[in-house]
Amino acid sequence: MRRLMFLIPLVLFLGLAGWFAVRLKQIDRGDTPDHLPSVMIDKPVPAFDLPPLVEGQPGVAAKDLGPSAGESGKVRLVNFWASWCAPCRSEHPILMRLAGQGVDIRGIDYKDKAADGQAILARDGNPYAAVARDESGRTAIDFGVYGVPETYVIDRQGRIRYRQVGPITPQDLQNRILPLINELSK
């Protein structure tokens, strides 16, 4: 009996280790601790109509997301970014790749100087079907953006279905975003 008492620390520790292992497995599947849920999930995108980043090109508005007259709508991404944001630069190649695969990404340049935003897109390439400026950050607040970059998956009905806080990593893309786009596009 006394001997069994000396086993208690080992048993407790193994329990803890097992649970760590489960957590690591969950993280591997994309459920990271910094994955923040959003109250906006399954709600329609907030009303907004933002001016274009580049004069003369289309801006981004709530009515562009979801079904419009004549077509049943398309799954789209809304990506908040800025020229001053370093993680946005690391995310940029992934957006370019997504755009190359035909994914419709709408960009919102957050609290940025128009010239800076334009210069970055001219230098690194433009993955966006349309890109607008949110100089006041008002629309970002309505979406519930914590900080750039942040990306939202919008379904064919114009509802927010997923929120990515921080840059999209290749794992996020493989494990969450691409499967979700495929599922929603069915």
């Binding site: 000396f6 080992l10 520790f13 280790a17 760590f20 957590r23 690591l24 993280i27 591997d28 601790p33």
Partner: protein, 666 residues
Amino acid sequence: MIPELGHYALVLALVVALVQSVIPLWGAARRDPAMMEVGRTAAYCQFVALALAFGALTYAHVVSDFSVLNVVENSHTDKPMLYKVAGVWGNHEGSLVLWVFILALFGAMVAAFGRNLPASLRARVLAVQGMIGVGFLWFMVATSNPFTRVDPAPLNGHDLNPLLQDPGLAFHPPFLYLGYVGFSLCFSFAAGALLEGRVDAAWARWVRPWALIAWSSLTLGIAMGSWWSYYTLGWGGWWFWDPVENASLMPWLAGTALLHSAIVVEKRDTLKSWTILLAIVTFTLSLMGTFLVRSGVLTSVHAFASDPARGVFILALLVVATGGGLLLYALRAPILKAGGLFAPISREGGLVLNNLLLSTACATVFLGTLYPLFMDAVGGGKISIGPPFFNATFVPLMVPVVAVMAMGPLLSWKRADLAGVLGRLKIAALVGVVAALAALWLAGTKPVLAVLALGLAGWAVMGAVVDVADRIRLFRMPLGDSLSRARHLPRGAWGTAIAHAGLGVAVAGMVGTSAWTTEAIQVLHIGQAVDVAGYSFRLDSVAEAPGPNYTARRAVLTVTHQGDFVATLAPEQRFYPVTRMTTTGAAIHTNFFSDLYAVVGEPAPDGTGYNTRFYRHPLVPWIWVGSILMMTGGLASLSDRRLRVGVPLKRAAPRAAATVPPAPAE
């Protein structure tokens, strides 16, 4: 070429560590002196190999060799030399190199200074040390090679995170690692003793120096980290209960408990299996810190770029090391014989209480750190546990620790006279009351608890003074005799008193700044002034100032007190163009009793003024003064002749100089 040599040295160290972990253990089982001796040779070889690897990586950073990925990702040619060197350990791979280098350093120190250890124990300790080395070296070679090349080499690097480009933080990791890794030796000694099946006073004497080195370094490392957050985060916070901070606090608490319980093993030959368990737990908590920081299991501002694949590896390491240690404990600890009995009120009793409180405090921090994880795993949603939880649980546990700490050293072994001890502490009680009254007079009644806590701090500091005064019979015999006694007082006794006083001083600092900070946040125009706690801060100018790898916007402030000049403060905002990050450099003027703290931030939206924040933090410098005292106490204890590393112990001879009357040494 040099990076390849470094990589080769790493692999070589891995192979040597394998030898070190198998042959001496085998030799100890067969009682074969030659095989046991392999442990020492291997420990030296491993040290040399890892010194080479560490040197190679440092060289690559110093000369900015951008064909090495690690240098590209963490360095830049414009970076000042100090941070080129500090950049070596400012990243995941490099910090691991430092980790194993320190591990090998400790192994080599056991090999060199452990001549007085029984050969079989030394062989077993070195073997366990070798196993830890195998784990970490394998981890590095398999997942985190610091010497990976890039081809073609870029022209310049990405620079080190500007927050890490700071003198306080540059040397924070090495001290933390000295602490974490130092506890690995306590673990190895515990495992060695379990394998031997013997824990006695001699064992406790051999473990104590290593525990003291580790504890003192960890104390300094934590203090440096907290000092850094105090002056860089821009509002004077010095502890945030962030998971990574907690990861360093937990081994500290467990290590503090270990230091104290080892005294009981040494003097009274009891509490053995508990002390062994503490040694295992302390190192486990150090390893777990490594796991939590690098696996991405927890979110923290300090976390390294995390990677679940690495997490799995570290978890496996943790399971093998701790699981193995605890299994050994379950099998062998029951055979350890309990030693002397003691009454509840006795030195032993006091140390048991200390251990109970410290381990409960450690468990509290552990729960608070992991609870959010647990809730998330069972679907309880994302929650965060902040300072309120820790203030409500940890702080009440520390109150009795500090209160009893003053009495502990005055209690006698086996059975003590509590009333007599309290009688001797009358002066300490008086000082406590005076400290509380002084706080009341200077700061007003609110908050009552802080006033009481300050009284407690005064009691603790004076208690340590009384302890020394008592031992040297101050004022009870001629001063010259007292001084001579003071000279001959064992360093361990000095260490205890200094460290205990240090904790009291640090507590006063923590209480003072938590309870009585004054702040003023406003937009100031050039030439305007604002009053903070009787001090007037005037914004004189704001100008651009170039730095080596940043540009700064430096403000100049004049501080006056009732019209008298006090100080000129020059806070700055630094912008690092390579990483496009801004850091805040607060300006601090200290007079030892309080800090005046100023931050000048962004220009206000109207474009004419600046956002400014001024604080007066009473007693805050005492936190670090106290920490340094604690570390000094640890080092003083370490220099005690009884434990001095490398001094052969003549066990037959009575302890230290025979001229000293048999005052209790701790």
